[in-house]
Symmetry: C2
Subunit: 399 residues, 2 copies
Amino acid sequence: MNILILGGDGYLGWPTAMYLSRRGHDVTVVDSFHRRLWDAEIGAESLLPIRSLRERVALWSELGQPRIHMEVGDITDWDFLEAVVRERAPEAIVHYGEHRAAPFSMLSRRHAVITQVNNVVGTLNVLFAMRDHAPDAHLVKLGTMGEYGTPNISIEEGYIEIHHEGRSDVLPYPKQPGSFYHLSKVHDSHNIHFACKVWGLRATDLNQGVVYGVHTEETDMHPGLATRFDYDHVWGTVLNRFCVQAAIDHPLTVYGKGGQTRGFLDIRDTLACIELAVLNPAAPGEFRVFNQFTEQFSVGELAEKVAEAATKLGWDPIIENIANPRVEAEEHFYNAKHTKLLDLGLQPHYLSETLIDGLLETVRAHADRVDRALLLPSHTWTEGWIGPEAKEQQGGEVH
Amino acid sequence: MNILILGGDGYLGWPTAMYLSRRGHDVTVVDSFHRRLWDAEIGAESLLPIRSLRERVALWSELGQPRIHMEVGDITDWDFLEAVVRERAPEAIVHYGEHRAAPFSMLSRRHAVITQVNNVVGTLNVLFAMRDHAPDAHLVKLGTMGEYGTPNISIEEGYIEIHHEGRSDVLPYPKQPGSFYHLSKVHDSHNIHFACKVWGLRATDLNQGVVYGVHTEETDMHPGLATRFDYDHVWGTVLNRFCVQAAIDHPLTVYGKGGQTRGFLDIRDTLACIELAVLNPAAPGEFRVFNQFTEQFSVGELAEKVAEAATKLGWDPIIENIANPRVEAEEHFYNAKHTKLLDLGLQPHYLSETLIDGLLETVRAHADRVDRALLLPSHTWTEGWIGPEAKEQQGGEVH
């Protein structure tokens, strides 16, 4: 299948490109490299050294794999995106091409605005490009489980049947996102839903949990094919961050009480989910929502699991509860449904000690690259960036 | 009370400013005059001649009324808005400062992007300015009943108690907006709700119905205080448009079957609702939602009412059902709750023949200003702008 991957230079975009390429799809990656720019702004760097996209694409061909096409540009630039969609005429568009960090969006007004404008405008452009040049294509959009927040009832996959005063309807599941980033994903969901209704587009919104791991069959083919591994307080997700802390004998820092429960999945399952969605497209006019994760854990439980695995390696991990920089419930009901991808045939890789062991070893091998200053939050949900740069971060240009 | 009115040059902003000023509040109007710019783009003009904001503010003082302060600038410009909020230190911010036309937002990609970026960024700036400089102020934000769409259950005021699998929660009412404009208001609602939760701001989201009329006690004090009256297919709301059509012996054009049912209210009730909200602020951290309308009508019923009033004046109105440019249900269940403003003391002006008579007479007095070409839709929800300019409308700059 002819597939466009927006955000093909990213943590998941690049492994997805290789995975789909190796399985016979004709893959084009699109990226603006904004993520690398933002890294520079924060002063963060992937724990695993990563090559440029151009080098990785070239290496992929050198290894005898099918050619991956590359288009460099920004999807918020209509002229660029329109030309790509018109010329590539994709059958599926996998849309990772967004800002993806809650903490980044909470640094300051400027960061909130950048995040929302970037994600909303990019996705609007994708929808209009599909309407005009690829109306039969299937949009596979990465959303987040964080769109739902932590309601006191079970979380359904996108829609809920509501009975009210003797009548009933199936309506979009109410959203309670917890950061300006998560809000941008909710905005996208509403925009995409509308475009499906009005223009008959087909879309699948993948409300993904927190992804962990860096090893896939394809990244393991050559060190030059590695994908990024973020451990800093802005981009690093919780399991990855705990592993880095354990590897350098830093306390595993749990935000608040640690009862915050979320959905999680292995990076390999992300790739499988994407292909399942692509191979089983939504119907014309359908806005389909899948909850894309395999297991629920609380942050405290994850810390325990990492500590246990580290102990077995003979390390000496400590867990420390620190002040929560976020505004969120730290003890709450959480039961999120996630059967639709299983029904399509997903075979999950559950979080086992084996995996944590492997991750810990990988991390320790690169321990000299860890910048300890990036492990702890530099800002809070209530105050934004803490420190002398706080003031200037409010102003400045949006784009 | 010290009140900032964003969008103080608009159809409702200007009458609200006079109303609150006359009732003893210290009013500052803020406007960028974008609405007048967009008028020029569409080639539309208010049926009633309107003076510049500067002239209206001066006239208000000349008539012996309290001074209304004026700040000219764009709320999407952070430096401008921050300075205004810091210097004026408002106790309440009435936020009309947004793009407000569904048809405008559906003209092209460019118009969709302008609408969403303008509204989302402006409102984010307001929230950050409040957080930094007016944390105790009360935000009174104009939303729209169109955020809800037409669900098959009763529409509650902002929240709904959902019982699900033996548990229950009160959650934000699910939204199904019907245009990129309405979507922008849903984005705003989510952003504001979050800011209340995280920063303890207080806000009231007024999900307003379709407003009709141009006469208020204050606009009637002098012709130079008139507010705009839009009748064109982009900015004109349905009752106003029907009145203009009747006054120039043009068929009253009902989109599709005419069973589309919405909430409506008299412009005088809008002003009263705003003051009620201002005088009864939300609590710190509270995101309060009122449905702001007084009666429900279908579009077909409204056409009948206008035709009936016109007939009594000896005119000869015809109703014509034309192809619906929008994508919407034309026959549907509709029952929207609207008791919270009544509970605060709202005394509605219901739509009576008297009012339609008066509106028809006002309109006929200005019939020579009507551009008939602006009465019928130039674009559809599915295709966007129809005609040779369609292509170029996609591209161009966002701002």
